[in-house]
Structures are given as structure tokens and as C-alpha cells.
């Protein structure tokens, strides 16, 4: 269980995974924030109001998968680094794109090969960096996009440069 180990189980993950028909349409967010905590920067970060909290700031975020455009604006604003963007509509067969916040040094460069890690920090596979966004407005939280095997998209959650 997440609350004993810090690792989200596949059972716990289910409610926040976008449905198959939404995944096929292109990039969408997965918000792995499963506890009621007094935090809400994700809500105001979203330009299309896809993230809501039913009973205010102490609720957990609810994502409307259909409204979400997968733009990624919420990713670097989340202090829990809990938001990921998956893009299953990638033009390389068998591959998908995964974007995440990255706050360690060195920040990888585009096309660099990095280790893709799972939720326990274990090596899954090598992955190519497809994009790095690190503008001053992100205040040193880079958003790194890697190309991963499509069938490991829900396992990979970290990288080692």
C-alpha cells in the first residue's frame, strides 16, 4: 500500500488512469495525488480548468480526462511532482512519450540516453530524451519527456541521468 511503502499499487492507480479511448486521442495527464492534503497549485495552473477539487483545497484533485489537453502546464507547478503526461499517440510504433518534473542535476539534454526507473527506483530500460523544457518561468523544475516502451508507460516514473 502507498501509505506503508510510498509506492502506489496498480490497484490504487486505477482510478487516476485515463480510459483507453482517451489515451488513443493523444497526450493526457495522470495525477498521482491520492491523499486529501491542503494543496492546490495544480488547480490554478490548468488553463482549461480540467482539474477540480470538490470540497475545496483539502480535497484530492479530480481530472476531467476529456477536458484535459495534455498541455503539461500543471506538471512543473505541482510541489509533489505527482503529475505525469502520457502520450500514447506517438509516431514511433510500440513507443509512447512520458513527461515528468525533474529537479536533479545535471538536467539531461534532448536525445541523450538515460535510465528509466520504476516507482521504487529500479532500472526498467534505457530511454531516449525526446524533449526538455526548462524556462525561467518553471523556476528550476525542468519537465523532461522520454520515449518509453508503450507497455511500460504505467511503470516508469523516474529517470537517472
Amino acid at each position: 500500500m502507498l501509505k506503508n511503502t510510498g509506492i502506489i499499487t496498480s490497484e490504487e492507480l486505477k482510478p487516476v488512469l485515463p480510459p483507453q479511448n482517451r489515451l488513443e486521442k493523444g497526450p493526457v495527464a495522470i495525477i498521482e495525488c491520492l491523499q486529501d492534503i491542503p494543496c492546490d497549485p495544480c488547480v490554478s495552473a490548468c488553463p482549461v480548468k480540467a482539474i477540480q477539487m470538490q470540497s475545496g483545497i483539502t480535497d484530492r484533485p479530480q481530472l476531467d480526462f476529456e477536458t484535459c489537453t495534455g498541455c503539461g502546464a500543471c506538471v512543473p507547478k505541482c510541489p509533489g511532482l505527482a503529475i505525469f503526461i502520457v502520450n500514447m499517440k506517438h509516431n514511433v510504433p510500440g513507443k509512447a512519450l512520458l513527461s515528468m518534473s525533474y529537479e536533479l542535476l545535471p538536467v539531461p539534454a534532448k536525445d541523450q540516453e538515460v535510465d528509466a526507473l520504476d516507482r521504487t527506483g529500479k532500472f526498467v530500460c534505457k530511454a531516449k530524451v525526446a524533449r526538455v523544457i526548462n524556462p525561467p518561468a518553471y523556476d528550476r523544475t525542468a519537465v523532461v519527456t522520454i520515449e518509453v516502451p508503450a507497455d511500460r508507460i504505467n511503470d516508469i516514473r523516474s529517470i537517472k541521468v
Binding site: 502507498l2 501509505k3 506503508n4 511503502t5 510510498g6 509506492i7 502506489i8 498521482e32 495525488c33 491520492l34 491523499q35 486529501d36 492534503i37 491542503p38 494543496c39 492546490d40 497549485p41 488547480v43 490554478s44 495552473a45 470540497s55 475545496g56 483545497i57 483539502t58 480535497d59 507547478k77 505541482c78 510541489p79 509533489g80 511532482l81 505527482a82 529537479e103 536533479l104 542535476l105 526507473l117 520504476d118 516507482r119 521504487t120 527506483g121 529500479k122 523556476d139 523544475t141 516514473r157 523516474s158
Partner: protein
């Protein structure tokens, strides 16, 4: 020498800065003292993005929040005097206090004091806990984030509250290996998003475990952990040796309250708030009518709530001198509403209980 002020704020963390800003903006002559070299309290060590309400700076790094508050302090400088490296060391009768800077001891006479001294770190008893290389989390943060010094190469963290989780993350960012995080409870104490963050960087989290002893002769060389049962008793034959050169204790904070006791404020013990706190009403006024309180000194909570409590204390202290003010009332109303939403929900439950107990006891005296 002696100084004269209307409002005397002790402590320049988020609570004290907010109190001083509000009091001076409303028009009171204000003096703020802080015993460290740099204003901001805990905030100057917080390089991570804050959780909390985006109305109140969440998503922004703690150190940036400190800079924003310091700018407001500067803008108010015609009414607000700031003394750094200056500690408040005691209260006298007749609304006087003593302050000690590096080269002088002075008396301050004030009309209302707002005490925002924050908290001290708890320690833990285990064999060899006095070996060099065993630090509190605050010490580790000061070394690392204020002075740029790594506390060690391989560090073991004890305590899975938000401080243990966040300091572990900051250590990883500084390039220090975190060999594990130990927690006596079966569940992680802090926010799970912070736990997942360090877990996926490979840090094992040992819940239902405790530290039995530190190993080493002249410094830390390792630690022995063991499993604990529901009553926190060590389970035999579950010992586990971990190699490390540093142990960091993040096992809670206790409000720093000496000044209240000296000012003869009535104290109450509330476990949910971290121990003894001065009784205070919803205006943040203690049982000594000239002394107000805000921030962690009124109960361990967060920077966001410390700032809001500070704003209430600043506004009410102003009114205690200058009489009712609609502007002050508006500040208090706004802050109260924000506090209410921040403390709602299940994570705010303990704090709510604690706060309610303090208010009830005030009503009774």
C-alpha cells in the same frame, strides 16, 4: 540605550514578518528583532516548492516566499525597524523587554508584543546518539541549504513526517546518498506525494522500524535498525545493519516558549500542537493582554498558517493600541476564512482538535 515602539515583534520567520508587515501597514510603529543573521526563519532553508494554497504562495519555493516578505518589510521601512542578530532575552514588568545584539544590551518599551519564536527540534534516545555525525533535520538543512556544506556522504533519515521526507529529497538533490528512511509507525507520516518522490529515486522506506543504535567509535559508521510491533516494542531477531556516515533525526518539533513563561502567560499542553503552548484566543492574544503569539510558537503547523496567524496577530495588536479599525477587521476576516479552508478535511483534523482545545481552555479561564 533604550528603544521605544508601539508594537514589538520577536522572531522574523513567516509569522513574525507577516505580523510586522500588517502592523506597520496599518500605521503602528513597529520593531522586529530576529536572532539570526538573515530574516525568514525556517523559510530560508526551504529550497522546495511549498504545498498549500495557491492564494498564499503554494507552488513557490520557501526561500522565494522569504524574499517576497522581506521586500514588503523594506517597503514599510518608514514605520518598521528591523534588527537582525538580535535576540529578545526576557520580559520585564511594565511592558518592557531586553534585547541583546552582538555589541549591546538594550531595553525596549512597547505597548503590545507579538512573540513568533518558532520551534525547536526534538531528539530521540538510542545507544550512541551522541556520536559526531548525528544531526537534527534543521541542522542538516542549515548546513546544506544556507552554507552549501554536505553533512555526509551516506545518510540515514529517521522520521517520515514531511520534514524527514522533504529533507531527504533535498539531500538527494545535493548529491548525498540517502540509504533509508526509518519510521516507527506502520504508515508514512507526511504527505504521500513527498514519499513517492524519494521512493522512486531509490530510497527504501522502513515503516514499523526503529533505530536501536548508532555504530562507530569516533563518528557514525552505521546504524542498527529493527522491526517494532504495534506497541512499538522491538521484535527479536529482526535487526538489520545499515552502513552510513551520518544520521539525521526528523522526529518532530516543540514550540519555543520560554518567553511566554517569563511573560507569565498561562500555558497548556496540547499534544496535537507539539507540546506546551501559550493559551490564546482567536485574536492570537495570550492570557497576558499585552502579549500576542503566532506561528509555530502557538502550535506546530505550516508556513502558510503561520503567515495567516501572524496577520491576525498584527491586526489585533494594532487594534489593541489604536482601537477598532475596519481595515484591521478586513485583514482578520480574510485570514480566518483562509485558515478555515486550510484546516478543513482529514489532514487538518489533528490541528483542528488542538486549536479547539486551546480556545476552549481560554474560554474557561
Amino acid at each position: 540605550m533604550s528603544r521605544n515602539t508601539e508594537i514589538f515583534v520577536i522572531g522574523g520567520g513567516p509569522a513574525g514578518l507577516s505580523a510586522a508587515i500588517v502592523a506597520s501597514q496599518l500605521g503602528a510603529r513597529t520593531l522586529l528583532v530576529d536572532d539570526s543573521a538573515r530574516l525568514g526563519g525556517q523559510l530560508i532553508k526551504q529550497t522546495h516548492r511549498f504545498f498549500g494554497s495557491s492564494n498564499r504562495d503554494a507552488g513557490i519555493r520557501g526561500i522565494t516566499i522569504a524574499e517576497m516578505l522581506c521586500k514588503e518589510v523594506k517597503d514599510a521601512s518608514d514605520r518598521l525597524t528591523v534588527l537582525e542578530n538580535t535576540a529578545a532575552v526576557g520580559f520585564y514588568a511594565n511592558k518592557e523587554a531586553g534585547i541583546l545584539s552582538q555589541d549591546a544590551y538594550e531595553r525596549v518599551s512597547y505597548q503590545a508584543a507579538i512573540v513568533c519564536t518558532g520551534a525547536t527540534e526534538n531528539s530521540l534516545t538510542f545507544e550512541n546518539n551522541d556520536l559526531p555525525g548525528i544531526y537534527g533535520a534543521g541542522g542538516v538543512q542549515t548546513l546544506m541549504n544556507v552554507h552549501g556544506i554536505k553533512p555526509g556522504r551516506k545518510i540515514l533519515m529517521v522520521g517520515s513526517g514531511n520534514i524527514g521526507l522533504i529533507v531527504s529529497y533535498q539531500l538527494l538533490q545535493a548529491g548525498v546518498e540517502v540509504v533509508g528512511l526509518v519510521e516507527g509507525m506502520p504508515t508514512i507520516g507526511g504527505y504521500l506525494v513527498h514519499a513517492s518522490k524519494i521512493r522512486r529515486l531509490g530510497v527504501p522506506i522502513y515503516t514499523s522500524h526503529t533505530i536501536l543504535k548508532a555504530l562507530g567509535e569516533t563518528g557514525v559508521e552505521g546504524a542498527v535498525l529493527c522491526r517494532v510491533d504495534e506497541r512499538f516494542q522491538p521484535v527479536p531477531n529482526t535487526e538489520l545493519m545499515i552502513e552510513c556516515d551520518c544520521i539525521c533525526l526528523a522526529v518532530g518539533l516543540t514550540p519555543l516558549i520560554d518567553l511566554f513563561q517569563q511573560a507569565q502567560c498561562r500555558m497548556v499542553h496540547v499534544g496535537e500542537l507539539g507540546g506546551l503552548v501559550p493559551l490564546h484566543d482567536s485574536a492570537m492574544r495570550t492570557t497576558n493582554p499585552d502579549v500576542f503569539v503566532a506561528g509555530d510558537a502557538s502550535g506546530i503547523e505550516e508556513a502558510t498558517t503561520a503567515m495567516l496567524g501572524g496577520r491576525i496577530a498584527g491586526a489585533r495588536a494594532f487594534e489593541s493600541i489604536h482601537g477598532k479599525s475596519p481595515k484591521a477587521e478586513a485583514i482578520v476576516e480574510e485570514a480566518r476564512e483562509e485558515l478555515r479552508t486550510l484546516r478543513s478535511g482529514s489532514t487538518g483534523e489533528r490541528i483542528r482538535w488542538g486549536r479547539e482545545r486551546v480556545l476552549k481552555e481560554v474560554g474557561a479561564c
